[in-house]
Symmetry: C2
Subunit: 237 residues, 2 copies
């Protein structure tokens, strides 16, 4: 942590297409922040914290209900960017952002971003693409919650070829049951049960402490139909 944390602005989606000169005002208006593990980068409902570019560490974006159950929308590892919605419209942050590890982030206020967007229309175009993309992802999450059972969602999580996009940085095998539960919007016990049933059905197998996908076709079927695929007892004959 002694090394000065830097960030490659031009590889953030919001600033792709800008040359070194155009990036100067971006860098000038960014502010660097450090967050110890367990602290909040910002909270849901608070005034817009602006655009966040994470240069080091890991962050959880989530919502919580009054009883304390979490719904983790994203689990991000640097480099990553988030809070684009509130950065763009200046409204309250839609999510809580918690530092899972010690973090370093560069931020741009809503005002700075607006200025940058109006002087560089490339940035505004990038923002448009980003928001459209977030929209599609959120809608997919909504569909999962509406139509998929928990084993189905779990299967989808294990398929993970960006099934949950860049929103979840870890392979599910390295997530705790608690984390999987909060990603799937349920509780730890239910995830444990689902893991066991997927294993006895042969879709997952245990590698050491962790589960690994064992039958990709089966997982896909489960994710799409909510049904465990029928074993073909006689494939040929």
């Amino acid at each position: 942590m002694l090394a000065v944390q830097v960030i490659n602005w031009s590889q953030l989606e919001l600033f792709t297409g800008l040359d070194a000169v155009q990036l100067t005002p971006v860098i000038a208006s960014a502010r660097r922040h450090v967050y110890p593990a367990g602290s909040f980068l910002f909270r849901e409902g608070e005034a817009s914290a602006g655009y966040f570019a994470l240069s080091d560490g890991m962050v959880r974006l989530y919502r919580a209900n009054p009883e304390g159950r979490l719904h983790t929308l994203s689990l991000l590892r640097a480099p990553a960017a988030f809070n684009e919605v509130a950065a763009v419209d200046g409204g309250p942050n839609p999510l809580n952002a918690l530092a899972v590890t010690d973090c370093v982030a560069f931020t741009l206020s809503h005002g700075s971003l607006r200025a940058l967007m109006s002087s560089e229309s490339v940035v505004m175009g990038n923002a448009l693409k980003i928001l459209a993309h977030i929209n599609r992802d959120t809608l997919e999450r909504l569909e999962d919650m509406t139509f998929r059972t928990i084993p189905g969602r779990l299967a989808k999580l294990f398929l993970h070829q960006s099934a949950y996009g860049q929103h979840i940085c870890e392979a599910p095998s390295h997530l705790s049951q608690e984390d999987m539960a909060s990603i799937l919007g349920t509780t730890r016990e239910v995830v444990g049960r689902a893991l066991r049933s997927l294993m006895t059905a042969g879709l997952l197998r245990k590698q050491g402490r962790y589960y690994a996908a064992a039958d990709l076709d089966g997982l896909l079927t489960l994710a799409e139909t909510n049904e465990l695929p029928q074993k073909l007892t006689c494939v040929k004959k």
Copy 2:
């Protein structure tokens, strides 16, 4: 239907702030379409149908699962606009759009919209606001599905002071149980049960054929906590 259907472009959120001159290319690139009741304006997954401005009729935006259950995201009455996400990024339509009644709509292709946005940065700025807003709404829907029980969601639907935003054009009292079910992401029977239990709890009452909100505080409590509020048997003493 003999009258030529027109539309006031400048009162659409995407084109607010444009004067008559600036609106000329918008009008020039728009195309008028007529859809009979029961037909599709566009389908989920198909190539971007572009931006839709509904000038007459009523449209349902929904997703369906393989078993045929519907999730209605919006039920819109003219004037209204939709499919902004696919119009902006040119990707496939995220939802199905079905004409509930005979409809007239004006459309802008992804290409035309892109051209308009690059020549009039006001339009791009408006698009940005719209996408951010849709995002917040979708996220709220997601939270509802994650944390709220069906009676809770139903209570929220009845509160309806834009609880479901401009996405649902009818007051819940005029929606069929089937429609409410597809808005809440469940089935007709479950909605019927929830309606009865809300009525016996005194939160709704029946006015003729329809249900009406009877206890706004109670509905609010239910929507927020998933618990029927405790009747205070002795308020003063």
